[in-house]
């Protein structure tokens, strides 16, 4: 359908552009007047925070790469040069490395929000699955980024993680050789990791776009998990949620700044300030904190292939979560039994994170095994059964109903105005 767009904008320049390329209309529709459930809590900040975090990572990464050398003989020194000689290089690098941690903190809370309020359920299955794709891409990007400084943890982390693929029968060793571009982690590996580490964030950006596109089709979920019934249940995105997101953003920046300026190496490993040595493995090798739960699952299984499959499975299972949870009720507020199991699952996730950072011996292995069992039990047995056995609490008639005196649904449009001041 060709033809100029009918623009509502008064400013002649904006109008001129908008009739030819209606970006202003699009922004107005998707971020200005976009009807958003009125009852968001602060957990709904974390999608916006994740986008900001991605942009920070891309910006600092582009500038870091201007001074980084992807070669085994120079990589470590070039990173040290960034720290010592490049103007504000220390800031760019600490923001980038701690930004990775912040990104995972934000995304883990974002995922938790989705689990607690049932944001993965119909009609948001594809939205959820795109999110899992983003999460996987993030993990790949973070892993390859950690290899680039070419310290001891970089080298041995790369060796251990790429060797995961050797668990697959027949083709395993060929896959690993192919990943390495040689017979060990070496210069070809470093070069391709740098190339992919630069590429993947832009792929993430693309999938984030799809994630948001899908979100704006289904609309946001909300703490009650019920659909908005009319205008009395929604607010325009701007200024209500632009402001609410800004408040969260400030808190996020405070936490970020405390990490960067007061504890920049708190979440890292001192061993990574030792240049890579292919002849000596560090005594205690662990991945970055955000991989620990999955690392714990890997080590919990006494079989090589089994451990690898279970580790990949622990993320793959999220793809089918919308169909494993058979309950029609989204929000855990109205699921008196399931919420305790989910809360336990969350604590269990943290337990796995703790166990993954401990040596793989004695009591730690036992704990990791029990936690792994519950991780899968929740998805594969508890959720499918609870959907049938649990009797959910009574859902409110509408989002506005509990806050409006008299309770019942309000005629469309009538209540929106007075409530804005509330």
């Amino acid at each position: 359908m060709a033809g100029l767009h009918q623009s509502d904008f008064k400013n002649p320049v904006v109008r001129w552009i908008d009739t030819r390329l209606p970006v202003f209309t699009l922004l107005q529709k998707e971020y200005g007047t976009f009807p958003t459930p009125r009852n968001f809590n602060y957990l709904w900040n974390f999608g916006a925070l994740a986008i900001v975090n991605l942009l920070i990572m891309i910006a600092t990464g582009v500038f870091l790469s201007m001074n980084y050398t992807a070669h085994t003989a120079y990589a470590f020194d070039s990173v040290e040069r960034i720290m010592r000689d490049v103007n504000y290089g220390w800031l760019l690098r600490y923001v980038h490395s701690n930004g990775a941690s912040m990104f995972f903190i934000v995304v883990y809370i974002h995922i938790w929000r989705g689990l607690w309020y049932g944001s993965y359920k119909a009609p948001r299955e594809i939205l959820w699955m795109l999110g899992v794709v983003i999460f996987l891409l993030m993990m790949a990007t973070a892993f390859m980024g950690y290899v680039l400084p070419w310290g001891q943890m970089s080298f041995w982390g790369a060796t251990v993680i790429t060797n995961l693929f050797s668990a697959f029968p027949l083709v395993g060793q060929h896959i690993v050789t192919w990943l390495w571009g040689g017979f060990s982690v070496d210069n070809p590996t470093l070069n391709r990791f740098f190339s992919l580490h630069y590429l993947l964030p832009f792929v993430i950006f693309g999938v984030v776009f799809l994630h948001i596109a899908a979100l704006h089709i289904t609309g946001s979920n909300n703490p009650l998990g019920i659909d908005p019934k009319g205008p009395q249940d929604t607010l325009p995105f701007h200024p209500y949620y632009t402001i609410k997101d800004s408040v969260g953003l400030i808190v996020y920046f405070i936490v970020f700044a405390v990490l960067v300026f007061f504890a920049p190496n708190y979440l890292g490993h001192p061993d990574n300030y030792i240049p890579a040595n292919p002849l000596q493995t560090p005594e205690h090798i662990v991945p970055e904190w955000y991989f620990l739960p999955f690392y714990a699952i890997l080590r919990a299984v006494p079989d090589k292939l089994g451990g690898v499959l279970l580790m990949f499975g622990s993320i793959a299972i999220l793809f089918i979560l919308p169909w494993l949870d058979t309950s029609g009720v989204r929000s855990m507020r109205f699921r008196p039994i399931a919420r305790w199991f989910l809360l336990l699952w969350g604590l269990n996730f943290l337990l796995l994170m703790w166990a993954g950072g401990k040596p793989a011996e004695g009591i730690y292995v036992t704990i990791a095994r029990l936690a792994t069992v519950y991780y899968f039990l929740y998805f594969l047995v508890i959720l499918p059964l609870l959907g049938r056995l649990e009797r959910p609490l009574k859902l409110p008639e509408s989002i506005a109903a509990p806050v409006l005196r008299g309770g019942g649904p309000v005629p469309a449009g009538a209540a929106a105005k007075p409530m804005e001041k509330a």
Binding site: A59, F63, M66, N67, R81, R84, D85, V86, N87, Y88, G89, L91, L92
Partner: protein
């Protein structure tokens, strides 16, 4: 303060009355601008020369092996510097030129510290090529100094532009004689 309250987001009709919202917008906008500037500066500054680059910003040259009539090329800040031990004829040739004939008028005396030692950047002031004339076999152009093969600029024995598209004389870098046979460039 009741008179200052105006429904939010809308400018008062007709009157130029200032509201508290104007004040809020101005202060918030100014604060945001300073914040953005403070964030952007480290990114921009990271592209400026780093400290290890600045540390290499001077070069020592030993003049003793350079006989009269010879020239050497040394690297300084990644660029060639021409150091020429000029013959008396070359000095005389450079000083005999009336300044009015020059495109970028500069007496030879102002371009050297000691008459026979000419030190100039070997970078053509047109578009940055390295002019010929350091080797005895090189073409030196019509004025006996240097000739830039890229676009045909001719420099004289004082490194001054005489013909061709270049606008300025070859640049004289900052240098000092640390002894009779040694200079430090930069």
């Amino acid at each position: 303060m009741a008179e200052a309250v105006v429904s939010h987001g809308t400018a008062p009709e007709g009157g130029a009355k200032e509201t508290r919202r104007d004040f809020l917008k101005l202060t918030a906008g100014a604060f945001a601008a300073v914040g953005v500037g403070a964030v952007v500066w480290p990114f921009i500054h990271s592209m400026n020369p780093a400290r290890d680059v600045l540390a290499l910003a001077s070069t020592e040259v030993d003049l003793s092996p350079i006989a009269t009539g010879q020239a050497v090329t040394v690297m300084w800040r990644g660029k060639p510097v021409f150091v020429r031990n000029r013959t008396p004829q070359e000095i005389e040739q450079a000083r005999a030129v009336p300044l009015g004939e020059l495109r970028d008028p500069q007496p030879d005396q102002a371009r050297v510290q000691r008459d026979n030692w000419l030190v100039v950047l070997g970078v053509c002031t047109h578009l940055g090529c390295v002019p010929l004339g350091q080797k005895p076999t090189d073409a030196r152009g019509e004025y006996g100094g240097w000739f830039c093969p890229c676009h045909g600029s001719h420099y004289d024995t004082s490194g001054r532009i005489r013909r061709g598209p270049a606008p300025l004389n070859l640049e004289v870098p900052t240098y000092t004689f640390t002894s009779d046979t040694q200079i430090r460039i930069g």
